[in-house]
């Protein structure tokens, strides 16, 4: 039971950390870039919200299976495979929500920072800092999508007891066995975990200072 909770947290937190490490800088880049096909790219990012976890699982499975391009790494049915698929699932959430959050902060904030002598990087960081609540919300959304999915972890993890069994897999198994009590208990634990992680992230983002660049009164 403790192992299942620990593994669930480890897999999903690692997955969302990897997704965030790529998605947040990418969102920052997209927010200041103007190129052909940008609108299509943004539409594709939001389409990623509807990506079925089981399809992602299938894709990762094919990638890691013995005949797949990464088959030699022998990662199928390991926590690493589960992290990979959950990172892919949470990626569009982190990217899409943080992009919307950054774009809600006027680009002029960057110009204003530069007009006070800030370097280019510090100016970009200033805009990200102004958007931090939205960026944390994107991580929260990504984490929720990762820890609550079952399709891909079952496919690429195999739900092996003591090795790749996570909370959602356990709920699935217990329900099939007709053990509704333990299944419901696991469900509540899952919700409690998500709540605690979200609360911790929100607390971290608030300790600092206050939200949003003030634009003044029109």
């Amino acid at each position: 039971m403790g192992d299942v909770v620990r593994l669930s947290l480890f897999v999903s937190l690692t997955a969302v950390a990897i997704a965030s490490a790529i998605a947040i800088p990418l969102a920052s880049f997209v927010s200041v870039s103007r190129f052909r096909g940008r609108n299509i790219l943004v539409a594709l990012i939001y389409t990623g919200f509807a990506l079925p976890p089981v399809v992602v699982g299938l894709f990762v499975y094919m990638l890691l299976s013995r005949s797949g391009p990464l088959g030699g790494l022998d990662l199928l049915f390991t926590p690493t495979a589960m992290i990979l698929s959950q990172a892919i699932i949470s990626f569009p959430y982190v990217l899409g929500v943080s992009l919307a959050a950054i774009e809600a902060i006027p680009a002029e904030v960057v110009l204003q920072a530069r007009a006070l002598g800030a370097s280019r990087w510090r100016a970009i960081y200033t805009r990200l800092r102004e958007a931090r609540f939205g960026i944390v919300a994107s991580v929260v959304a990504g984490f929720g999508a990762a820890i609550s999915e079952v399709g891909s972890v079952l496919l690429v993890g195999g739900n092996v007891q003591g090795e790749t069994r996570v909370l959602t897999g356990t709920i699935m198994l217990e329900t099939r066995r007709g053990n509704f009590g333990p299944a419901i208990a696991m469900g509540l634990i899952l919700l409690g975990l998500v709540f605690m992680v979200n609360a911790a992230l929100m607390f971290l983002s608030k300790s600092g200072s206050t939200p949003r660049a003030r634009e003044g009164q029109r």
């Binding site: 006027p106 002029e108 904030v109 110009l111 204003q112 920072a113 530069r114 007009a115 006070l116 002598g117 800030a118 370097s119 280019r120 510090r122 200033t126 800092r129 102004e130 200072s209 206050t210 939200p211 949003r212 660049a213 003030r214 634009e215 003044g216 009164q217 029109r218």
Partner: protein
């Protein structure tokens, strides 16, 4: 006007085009130590683009910008460290007033930083708000914080882009006073971009009037009022224009212009030559039109016209009176004068205009 000092910031042949349209086309502009130079123009005249070019926030297509004699361009950190910009909207960063004011002082020794922040907070009456969250500020306070955040850097050049545009009238006045008082002390030179002639006239030593990307006249506020070079400059600095005139007589630097069914003796604008019958524009300032009870003639003004009141519009402490009868004129008089003259719709009145108050322009000159 103060004695101009050394050139701090200057640009030469500066051009910027968007989609084939030239939005900034400035042959030469220089800002000198100790002066406030206003760039005055209507919306769309290219002044905000000029601000971004000079602030090194945007690349120019052509031309050079020099700071203290050294050519500078986008990405020049050393130059950016010597300039500071204030935008139309304050764009305060989340946190406290003090945190915002310290933003640009990174890398400066803490004791010096504290002293500078305290001094600028005091100068702009912000000391009591130092610890306040920026979300709790009014619009005027927020813009003062934005000004303090730039002035604390003690820049060689302070550039301001329409800093009063988002403020209401009473707060605008306070902000102008603060700006006029503190900016000269904390910045070596100030460039103020504005569409508001009141800003420019209240603060600037020199004003550059910008129209369609070009500077059409550069001079002291007095020069712009007394000697506007084009009808556009005249109109933009508060003059009224009569557009349908024809020259009916000429007499030693003066021209009699037939406007509507009346006529006016006017001064020719410098370097303006007109011929009899030529279509011209006439510019005058409403405050230069004196009124008297009907039939009072024989004043020193060469133009005395009997007219009828067709419009009365209060404008602050003054009253704007529209008159017609051969010529349509507008005048600004005090409420007391309006009362003494019994001005009401339809009443008869006599208007007096000195020749020097009327300026003739060839009608081909861009309005």
């Amino acid at each position: 006007m103060r004695q101009p000092g050394a050139v701090v910031l200057e640009c030469e042949g500066l051009r910027r085009r968007y989609n084939g349209t030239t939005v900034v086309d400035v042959d030469h502009l220089e800002l000198r130590t100790g002066e406030v130079l206003a760039v005055l123009g209507p919306n769309g005249s290219g002044k905000s683009t000029l601000f971004r070019l000079l602030m090194l926030l945007e690349h120019a297509d052509e031309g050079a910008i020099r700071l203290n004699g050294r050519q500078i361009k986008v990405g020049d950190r050393e130059a950016l460290a010597r300039m500071a910009g204030v935008f139309q909207r304050p764009y305060l960063f989340s946190g406290t007033v003090q945190g915002n004011i310290e933003y640009g002082l990174k890398g400066i020794e803490p004791a010096i930083r504290r002293a500078r922040v305290e001094r600028v907070l005091e100068e702009l009456s912000l000391s009591a708000l130092a610890g306040a969250d920026v979300r709790a500020l009014s619009g005027g306070e927020a813009q003062r914080v934005a000004l303090a955040r730039a002035l604390v850097l003690e820049p060689d050049v302070l550039l301001l882009d329409e800093p009063t545009a988002t403020l209401d009238v009473t707060i605008q006045r306070r902000f102008r006073e603060d700006l006029g008082r503190v900016a000269r002390r904390r910045a070596r030179a100030v460039l103020l971009i504005t569409h508001d002639a009141a800003d420019a006239f209240a603060l600037a030593d020199r004003i550059a009037v910008m129209q369609r990307g070009r500077i059409v006249q550069l001079g002291t506020p007095e020069q712009l009022v007394l000697d506007p070079r084009t009808p556009f400059v005249a109109a933009f600095t508060g003059a009224e224009l009569l557009l349908d005139g024809h020259v009916s007589a000429l007499d030693d630097g003066l021209a009699q212009v037939r406007v509507g069914s009346g006529s006016l003796w006017c001064t020719l604008a410098p370097e303006t030559t007109v011929a009899l019958g030529q279509p011209v524009h006439v510019a005058y300032r409403p405050e230069d039109v004196a009124l008297s009870r009907p039939g009072v003639h024989g004043t020193s003004a060469r133009n005395t016209i009997d007219l009828r009141v067709v419009g009365i519009a209060p404008a602050g402490g003054l009253v704007r009176v529209s008159l017609t009868g051969g010529i349509g004129l507008v005048t600004s008089i005090t409420r007391l004068s309006a009362q003494n003259l019994n001005i009401e719709l339809g009443s008869e009145i006599t208007a007096h205009l000195k020749v020097a108050a009327l300026r003739v322009f060839e009608s081909g000159e861009a309005k």
